[in-house]
């Protein structure tokens, strides 16, 4: 069997259910693949891992991948299982926030570590500065891994994913009507999340391409299986969590939300979505994520073979 190492963007959770399902159900085995799934975490930059040869293929958000490409690491998107973005800003309603422009003069929690790009683009889209509280600006905090800044009211809003952090806020006893959320998707600044990326130079190798074709095919099979059997998928994820920190309730709910995001995709990247992402990033104001339109940052070569 051919060995494939997959680097995840975050810890083992239903966000990556498709791959765990493919592994568990033997879809990879059927394709004669021996896949190792490497969990990520707050301290892991998947781009760095792949650059160092620690993985063959990785999952990343497109802004981060395109930024790396401009930094000289030629990453190519070979598949896009996530159709839409799950990122949003979650705020206390009682702080008096109703619309995006109400954000000015407030404290917002944002993820950094390469995940700040969508937020920055959105703010520049709105013409809000991020240099501190003012009538035209917001104060940005580097948010840690959890939702405490919101619960402790150290921030008025924090970044959340529809499938994860939002529910942690709810689980903490907050009722949904105490909150107001701004989905990036709704604000027209959504960027593509959780695509599969490989190094460009490897694609020249037919053996590697073939391996990726089989990998994407099996992975998409896993994703579709997961969408249809969300509870079983969540349990598979749970079995694979070595930290013993995840709970069944949370993972099942996450799987349900994730299924909504993957639903629209057969795995092939929609060039329109790609263009929208690039446009959003190019408009990133004074300090844009990417300065010029990337060339060759995606390919259908793999999905074309895999899905037909």
């Amino acid at each position: 069997a051919d060995a494939v190492k997959l680097q995840l963007k975050w810890v083992t959770q239903a966000q990556f259910a498709g791959y765990y399902v493919a592994q568990d159900k033997g879809f990879y085995g059927e394709e004669d693949l021996d896949v190792t799934i490497l969990p990520g975490g707050p301290d892991i930059a998947p781009t760095q891992v792949i650059a160092g040869g620690g993985a063959d293929v990785m999952i990343d958000w497109m802004p981060s991948a395109l930024a790396a490409r401009e930094k000289g690491l030629p990453l190519v998107n070979i598949a896009q299982p996530y159709k839409s973005s799950g990122m949003m800003l979650t705020c206390w309603k009682d702080a008096g926030i109703e619309k995006p422009m109400d954000l000015v003069n407030r404290t917002l929690g944002v993820w950094f570590f390469g995940n700040e790009f969508p937020f920055m683009s959105w703010m520049s889209h709105l013409g809000i500065s991020t240099d501190g509280k003012s009538e035209t600006g917001v104060e940005v905090l580097k948010q840690g891994f959890n939702v405490d800044p919101l619960l402790q009211r150290q921030a008025d809003c924090i970044s959340t994913m529809t499938y994860n952090e939002y529910w942690q806020v709810i689980d903490a006893g907050v009722s949904p009507d105490e909150l107001i959320t701004f989905k990036y998707e709704d604000q027209g600044v959504a960027t593509l999340e959780d695509g599969l990326y490989v190094l460009e130079e490897n694609l020249a190798d037919p053996a590697f391409t073939d391996k990726m074709v089989r990998f994407v095919r099996a992975s998409m099979k896993g994703w579709k299986y997961a969408e249809e059997n969300p509870d079983e998928a969540a349990m598979i994820v749970l079995d694979n969590d070595a930290s013993g920190a995840q709970t069944e309730k949370h993972q099942k709910r996450m799987m349900g939300e994730v299924a909504k995001l993957t639903a629209g995709s057969n795995g092939a990247l929609d060039p329109a979505d790609y263009e929208r992402t690039v446009q959003t990033l190019l408009n990133g104001g004074s300090d844009p994520v990417i300065t010029k339109t990337p060339e060759g940052a995606w390919t259908h070569a793999i999905t074309d073979k895999a899905l037909n």
Binding site: P42, S243, G244
Partner: protein, 304 residues
């Protein structure tokens, strides 16, 4: 015996203070929860309470104090909550379970011990070199100090990536980070120890024309023993911290570091605290073990 009594008294005092501290620390969250549950609290509305003094809130809502010791996600968990969690995750779970602290402790411990062995070995070698060679003394020592001013947690992911790319994985990368943190105290302590013989003790050997080797085994090494053990105790605690730090960029799949992170990630304060205490207890056991070895060794050397 006296010591035990003293420790117990101090611990008891800390526990009392701790319970007392829980009330102001947790009061805001508790009041918000109670308010959601329909209780009458003063003043009403979380935003109104946001900038109020916690002590004022405790005074105004004294009925809520018991609730500050039983929150699910407290800012400061009460001692019994931490103890219960510790008990549940150690004694009550099979040690092979992923939810068992014993299992995670073992994962961390193995990396700690390997890292400690590497770090101590390296530290002693460096110290021996520094004491015996002027070049090493003059060139290595300043850079050993510089090495400790580099934030290893920032470098850890890169070290792991680089090691990964040359095929080193598993427990070893963690152990290397652990070794990086533990070698320094050993170097410093051992250099001090190996240099602790006074001029007369050295002169004596000189009159015997003892060679470097004999000087090392018969004078410098025995003289350094108290220093060695002191630095080993610091070193093993550093090793443990190193192993925990090293767990984060390896995917944090298992180990006390992974528990800490997962707890932090899901805001499970009680879980963080129990993992923290687990780590400190482990360190305490390791240091205690070294203390026993120290006592036995020094006793055999007639130095206790």
């Amino acid at each position: 015996m006296r010591s035990l009594l003293a420790v117990l008294t101090v611990v008891a005092a800390i526990v009392v203070l701790w319970y007392a501290a829980c009330a102001p620390m947790n009061i805001k969250g508790v009041l918000t929860e109670l308010e959601r549950g329909g209780a009458q609290v003063v003043p009403e509305g979380a935003p109104a309470r946001r900038d109020m003094s916690a002590f004022g809130l405790v005074a105004g809502n004294s009925f809520a104090i018991p609730a500050t010791w039983a929150q699910e996600r407290p800012r400061l968990p009460a001692p019994h909550q931490v103890v219960t969690e510790l008990w549940n995750t150690t004694v009550m779970k099979k040690i092979t379970s992923k939810r068992s602290l014993v299992y995670h402790g073992w994962v961390t411990l193995s990396a700690t011990l390997l890292g400690f062995a590497i770090g101590t070995g390296l530290g002693i070698l460096l110290a021996v070199g520094i004491v015996h060679s002027r070049v090493m003394d003059m060139s290595v020592m300043p850079w050993a100090i510089v090495s400790q001013t580099i934030p290893i947690i920032a470098l850890a992911p890169m070290i792991i990536v680089v090691l990964y790319s040359v095929g080193v994985q598993g427990i070893l990368p963690k152990a290397i980070i652990s070794a990086y943190l533990s070698f320094f105290p050993v170097v410093v302590g051992m250099v001090k120890g190996l240099r602790s013989p006074d001029a007369m003790q050295l002169d004596l050997l000189k009159t015997y024309n003892a060679n470097t080797n004999q000087g090392f085994w018969k004078l410098r090494l025995p003289a350094s023993m108290p220093y060695l053990f002191a630095s080993l105790k610091i070193g093993i605690a550093a090793s443990l911290v190193g192993a925990i730090v090293g767990e984060l960029p390896t995917g944090a799949v298992a180990g006390l570091g992974a528990r800490l992170l997962a707890g932090s990630y899901y805001g499970q304060t009680v879980q963080i605290w129990s993992a923290l205490f687990g780590a400190a207890i482990l360190a305490g056991l390791l240091v205690g073990l070294l203390g026993l070895i120290e006592r036995a060794t020094l006793k055999r050397m007639g130095m206790s």
